[in-house]
Subunit: 260 residues, 2 copies
Amino acid sequence: MKIVILGSGNVATHLTLALSRQHNILTVYSRNRDNAEQLANKIKTKATNSIKEIPATADIYIIAVNDDAIGTVVDDLPQLNGIVAHTAGSIPIEALNRFSNHGVFYPFQTFSKDKDIDLSNVPILIEGNNAETFQKLNDLAVSVTNKIYNVNSAQRLTLHISAVFACNFVNYFYHIAETLLKEADIPFELLLPLIDETAQKVHITSPLNAQTGPAIRNDRNTIQKHLKVLQNAGANDLADIYSKHSKEISELYRHDNPTK
Amino acid sequence: MKIVILGSGNVATHLTLALSRQHNILTVYSRNRDNAEQLANKIKTKATNSIKEIPATADIYIIAVNDDAIGTVVDDLPQLNGIVAHTAGSIPIEALNRFSNHGVFYPFQTFSKDKDIDLSNVPILIEGNNAETFQKLNDLAVSVTNKIYNVNSAQRLTLHISAVFACNFVNYFYHIAETLLKEADIPFELLLPLIDETAQKVHITSPLNAQTGPAIRNDRNTIQKHLKVLQNAGANDLADIYSKHSKEISELYRHDNPTK
């Protein structure tokens, strides 16, 4: 298929690299000409920072810009015969209503520019405003992954929220752990087997069943000891987080498993 | 080496299975006779629920009971020639002072009874009250893992706190994500590639560098949209958590990376 990519950030970069293997990327557009060129050069195609230079002949236009910028790009694009799809978790399909064929092509993953990702294992969530559009986006998804899901805009929004908890906040807690270890002169690598096992566990059992630690045991001695260390180190913000989530976990298991 | 295991919980179980491959587990002790027998049967050794029946001839006694129960076990044990070591993150080595040779043998991992773990990749943190004890505990650790760390009791306590954030609270957030997905009729498996990648990323870059999502971009539109969904669903507790940590992440990156 002939594809135009609009955007040059993390999602645009990973999608462009993956799609270019089996498809013809006609042009990479970005407001910032340097960024457009940098990405276009990786796959030896054209770059532009002018919406007017975008070819009208593509089968699919993929809008992979920041959520805040999608509205402007949609307004600036001319009418197009091809499919226009965005890649955002929290934007409903209706945002693209002005195009006769439109949809969503949302790769459900955390992308950083400096880390390669094998997209074949990444779920792609698609939506289309008609059967033909859905089918074409499905075909495009098949060319990069074997995990394709048909979810509506409300479900996609909920998925995005769940990702904030299971990825963004999780990574923030990795950061807190790293900060604590640095203070105690302990290398962060010591945590990696624990981080990996915590992630691996929920492949075979539900998180509710996988919970360990002082809070689920309602082990007040240990919890108090930990809080004291944080408070003595002047980390009252971390003590607050520790205390709040420990309480929530203890409550959760008192209700769910009265025998524990 | 000749070893006695005191305890029959998750840590005791995994350690007993791993140590029994190269060592002679003389006895498994637990307050609860059934639990002691269940574990002892797995490696065809003796079980007891009486401290008095514990043999005096072991080289090492490993106390792997709940933190709260360590004091009682220590008080009840007779004087022993062998090394007495506990496996707790938050208990200082001094808790075992009444034994002439004592130390700590702390496997830094999250253990569940129903999931096998390859201990060879698990860091074991050791401490000993004298050089000979340290060396013997080191030899024991070498027989199960290639990751051995010499950390003192204060460092071990900090490590344990960091594990609460990077494992216990992380798993709690997996649980929140699962709850949200269930409400929206989306299978939890959809999250697994994201969970795995979030864990994998911090193997090659620091969490501070790996952060993604609306909070680091200070994307207020998306954050407000997410909060509204949670509030409309009556999940005000989750909205509070979402709001609090989003603010913390936005603040963190405003301070650390003024250009982002």
